[in-house]
């Protein structure tokens, strides 16, 4: 009888398997990454004019009214930019003043969100808050902060929620909402405006329905309808 050892205890077999499995997984990941990158490219002002949905829209969305509503077809909430038509899709028409203006050019809007994101990083926001659900859990999620009902209630006293948010950011302890206060991080007036612009822009990112049921009445799915 041939005393050939089993392939299942052969180091050579497992070494080759490991190499192949790793190689195939890595190639698949790279291909998927190319596709994801294409789909995640930031949109342009032209896209908004042409009413094209982008996962990450152009920063000029800060000129528009933004909402977050259930999409029957996709089965979860999606950002609604510029009001809703009869089918529940974005109309890209209804504007909304942002610090008194609704005509920020693509260049101006991009400059604002550039400064906004740099400020978010420079102040380590992610080490207390979560952004898109990632970060620390010491303070509320900022993914849809722009749409949070808290700001709707504060808006009238400050002449609009963007003013309330900017005021808060410049001296958080003075407007503390909770015992767990946000510290004063030396955020300037310009930086505060840029951060608010970033938060508005971020609320228009299509997050596949996260957070679920956002802002709806307690306990009911899509209960706002």
């Amino acid at each position: 009888m041939d005393n050939k050892p089993s392939v299942w205890t052969s180091n050579r077999f497992w070494r080759r398997s490991a190499t192949w499995v790793t190689g195939v997984s890595a190639v698949l990941l790279i291909l998927l990454t190319f596709d994801s990158m294409a789909q995640m490219q930031m949109g342009t002002a032209q896209d908004i004019k042409n009413k094209v949905d982008k996962r990450i829209p152009s920063p000029v969305v800060i000129n528009y009214k933004i909402d977050y509503q259930l999409n029957r077809k996709r089965g979860h909430e999606v950002p609604i930019i510029g009001g809703m038509d009869a089918n529940g899709n974005s109309k890209y028409e209804e504007k909304e003043k942002f610090f008194g203006r609704d005509d920020y050019s693509e260049k101006e809007a991009r400059a604002l969100i550039h400064k906004g994101k740099l400020t978010i990083q420079a102040k380590n926001c992610m080490d207390c808050h979560t952004l898109l659900g990632n970060g620390a859990y010491y303070a509320p999620d900022l993914t849809k902060a722009w749409l949070d009902p808290t700001w709707e209630t504060l808006a009238p006293a400050y002449g609009g929620k963007e003013y309330a948010m900017a005021k808060f950011l410049q001296n958080p302890p003075a407007m503390a909402m909770h015992e767990r206060k946000m510290p004063n991080l030396g955020i300037t007036k310009d930086e505060a405006k840029a951060v608010v612009a970033y938060l508005k822009f971020m609320s228009a990112i299509d997050t596949n329905g996260f957070p679920r049921n956002f802002g709806k009445i307690k306990g009911a799915v899509d209960a706002r309808k």
Binding site: W14, L29, T33, N134, K218
Partner: protein, 478 residues
């Protein structure tokens, strides 16, 4: 374990330096974790002096950096032993060690005393990049790359001119992936979705792929050293684990791509491959117990009891923390509600401890044994207290955080749809607060265990039974 005439290799002396800094940074991690845990319960604690964000940066960065120190140290420890020759470029390696340590010290001092900067590019270059886990400013990133390149050179040059074992082959392939992935986190973009997409290449592909494979290789080495395990069997299992870990871990990346602006197909990919991720962890677990049972009957004593005990903690902790606790909230249907709550915190604490901390402590015990030149290292009382307090402490901490996480998910996400009001209502829930209270108590337990650990690492070789010394004396004489 030693080179000729019972002396340590220079590479192993360098390893001991890395181990020393690692243990010091481990202490820093626990201290700042304690501060953060206190702030969750008493928000006024150190407010405006050392805010939560700063305590947390030091907590998580110290964790990552001490594990990397211990990993580099463990490689420098086993490299000359496996390759059968002195580490090539050990002087360069020493220089890199001092450069890295000085850089780490500067970065920590900047975190503590400068903390934040204005919202411009200068801040990301000099103070912080503000991106969780990889907050280090860009100058430090570049420095780390240089240090890692020196490390890689030393490993490759040493193996090329020495013995090429299966363990070293896996390590060489793995270390180049680990170093390469760090580059994916070193650029700036205004697009936060793209930012997080690549950020996960560093964080996930490190922690759930390259680090796991690294741990399997070092675990194999420790088994050979502590149990005289059959090298062929260990190396066969190592390749099986590499196949399973990379096979599940690389595309398991998808479970971080559910909600950050990525296409929906990541739901299925992430769900499938991250569900497979616990599989190799079971393999590792079965493997170690099997080897233990097999070798035990042969009158073969365990050569380093503390190292083997910590390796056993690693197999249980890795399986429970990374496997079970990870799987509990990894499916998109569940993750939609648990993402961004205390669930990941509960999972993260046990997973990091189980998968990495325990095995790095095992490797450090090998260093302690080798430094003293002992044939065998027995468990001391302090060593027993260290492993018990730390392991039980982290387990209970995980259970506490899970309790809080459960309440948070139900109240904040289920009832209030993820609003800020819901967030604060959940944070005030008495069960949530109670969970955090237990977390603080168990954190103190871990710190007590750390004190025993440091004491034991410094003194355990002096407290060995007489026969162990005789054996080593005989070995030295031979």
């Amino acid at each position: 374990m030693q080179g000729n005439n019972g002396q340590l290799y220079e590479g192993q002396k360098l390893a001991l330096k890395y181990f020393t800094v690692a243990i010091v940074l481990f202490g820093a991690q626990l201290l700042f974790g304690l501060i953060a845990a206190i702030q969750f319960l008493y928000p006024g604690f150190l407010f405006n002096t050392l805010d939560f964000s700063i305590a947390r940066i030091v907590h998580i960065n110290a964790l990552v950096v001490w594990l990397l120190y211990a990993m580099i140290g463990a490689v420098y420890w086993l490299l000359p032993d496996e390759a059968g020759r002195e580490v090539v470029g050990v002087k360069l390696g020493n220089l890199a060690f001092y450069v890295l340590t000085a850089a780490v010290a500067v970065v920590v001092l900047v975190y503590l005393f400068i903390q934040v900067g204005p919202g411009n590019e200068m801040t990301t270059w000099l103070i912080t990049e503000g991106r969780e886990y990889i907050e280090a400013p860009r100058w430090a990133d570049i420095g780390i790359v240089v240090v890692v390149l020196i490390f890689l050179y030393n490993v490759y040059a040493t193996v090329m001119s020495g013995k090429k074992t299966g363990i070293l082959a896996v390590l060489m392939a793995d270390l180049i992936a680990l170093a390469g992935l760090y580059l994916a986190g070193m650029f700036y973009t205004d697009n936060i979705s793209v930012d997080q997409f690549w950020w996960w290449w560093v964080v996930h592909l490190w922690v759930e792929a390259t680090w796991e494979v690294y741990v399997a290789a070092v675990g194999g080495y420790i088994l050979i050293k502590t149990l005289n395990a059959n090298r062929k069997v260990v190396e066969m299992w190592l390749w099986i684990e590499v196949a399973m870990m990379f096979g599940s871990g690389i595309l398991g990346l998808g479970h971080h791509y559910f909600w950050i602006g990525t296409p929906e197909y990541w739901w299925e990919i992430g769900a499938l491959f991250s569900a497979l991720e616990p599989v190799p962890l079971v393999g590792l677990f079965v493997h170690v117990l099997y080897d233990w049972g097999k070798e035990r009957g042969k009158g073969n004593t365990i050569k380093n009891v503390p190292a083997f005990a910590w390796l056993t903690v690693e197999t249980f902790g890795n399986f429970l923390g990374a496997g079970v606790w990870g799987f509990m909230h990894t499916l998109p249907q569940i993750n939609l509600y648990t993402h961004g709550t205390q669930w990941p915190a509960a999972h993260g604490h046990l997973a990091f401890f189980g998968a990495y901390v325990a095995i790095m402590i095992a490797a450090i015990y090998l260093g302690v044994q080798g430094k003293a030149g002992l044939k065998e290292l027995k468990m001391t009382k302090a060593g027993w207290w260290a492993i018990t307090l730390i392991t039980v402490g982290v387990l209970l901490m995980t259970v506490s955080l899970t309790l809080s996480a459960y309440v948070q998910t139900m109240v904040e996400r289920g009832m209030y749809g993820g609003t800020w009001e819901g967030y604060f209502v959940a944070q005030a829930n008495q069960w949530f607060v109670q969970g955090l209270g237990w977390r603080l108590a168990t954190g103190l337990m871990v710190i007590a265990g750390y004190v025993f650990l440091v004491y034991d690492l410094l003194t355990c070789t002096k407290k060995q039974p007489a026969e162990v010394y005789e054996a080593s004396g005989a070995a030295a004489a031979a």
